[in-house]
């Protein structure tokens, strides 16, 4: 159960959209190297879930 309580579904959706827009803007400012790091994080999650054929890429 989330700690946050929203007064209505509309408020919740509005906040969700605002957060998504922020996240989208943040992604656009990321460098290629930073995005590579994020990809490795995704791979690590997939690895622990048994969804990867190979180990996550080394960060170097």
């Amino acid at each position: 159960m989330s700690k946050h309580q929203y007064s209505s579904k509309e408020v919740f959706l509005k906040r969700m959209r605002r957060d998504k827009e922020k996240l989208d803007k943040a992604y656009k400012t990321l460098s290629f190297e930073e995005k590579l790091r994020q990809l490795v994080k995704l791979q690590e999650k997939a690895w622990f879930m048994g969804k990867m054929k190979f180990k996550p890429w080394p960060i170097k």
Partner: protein
């Protein structure tokens, strides 16, 4: 990644390949949000290039002997990275190869497929995982629509693209 780029540059220097271009999700990463992938697609061009006979044994021999790479099914593990070597397999991928853009990562300069060509290849192949990537790109709107349409027209993919867009909007809107 830099370690892989160094090896790929060595391969060009040593004449094993003439040129290379990074494709797939690793190239898409440059233009968009990270999408899941477990390998790096490397398109290569060799002097023995042909659409009918594809022989990657000189590439594999070089990597195993000189770079301690380990082959695993269709991949080769290089410095811990699973690499899939591909050869431009049709006119679209060959055109994408020729129109690749140069980008840099730290001290390395390398070529990746142009965003519009990446999209055209995804539309052409139409795999389920590509639909999600196309959805994200449609949402971001960072691509040049005119450029994409001119590529799609030349390769008779406009109808397929329209169908994909309709399908995506039906699911997500």
């Amino acid at each position: 990644m830099q370690a892989v780029l160094k090896v790929l540059n060595d391969m060009v220097k040593d004449g094993v390949i003439q040129d290379f271009v990074i494709g797939g999700a690793s190239a898409l990463l440059y233009f968009s949000k990270p999408t899941f992938t477990d390998d790096i697609d490397v398109f290569i061009y060799t002097t023995t290039h042909s659409f009918t006979v594809i022989d990657l044994s000189p590439v594999y021999e070089y990597l195993i002997k000189k770079k301690s790479a380990v082959p695993r099914a269709e991949h080769i593990l290089l410095e811990g990275y699973p690499i899939q070597f591909l050869i431009p397999y049709d006119t679209l991928s060959l055109e994408a190869f020729e129109n690749a853009v140069t980008v840099s990562l730290q001290n390395f300069q390398f070529k990746i497929f142009n965003l519009e060509y990446l999209m055209a290849i995804m539309i052409q192949l139409g795999k389920a995982k590509y639909l999600e990537r196309l959805r994200v790109l449609l949402e971001d709107q960072t691509f040049d629509e005119k450029k994409l349409l001119s590529i799609l027209e030349r390769f008779h993919l406009v109808q397929k693209w329209d169908k994909i867009k309709k399908g995506l909007s039906a699911i997500y809107e």
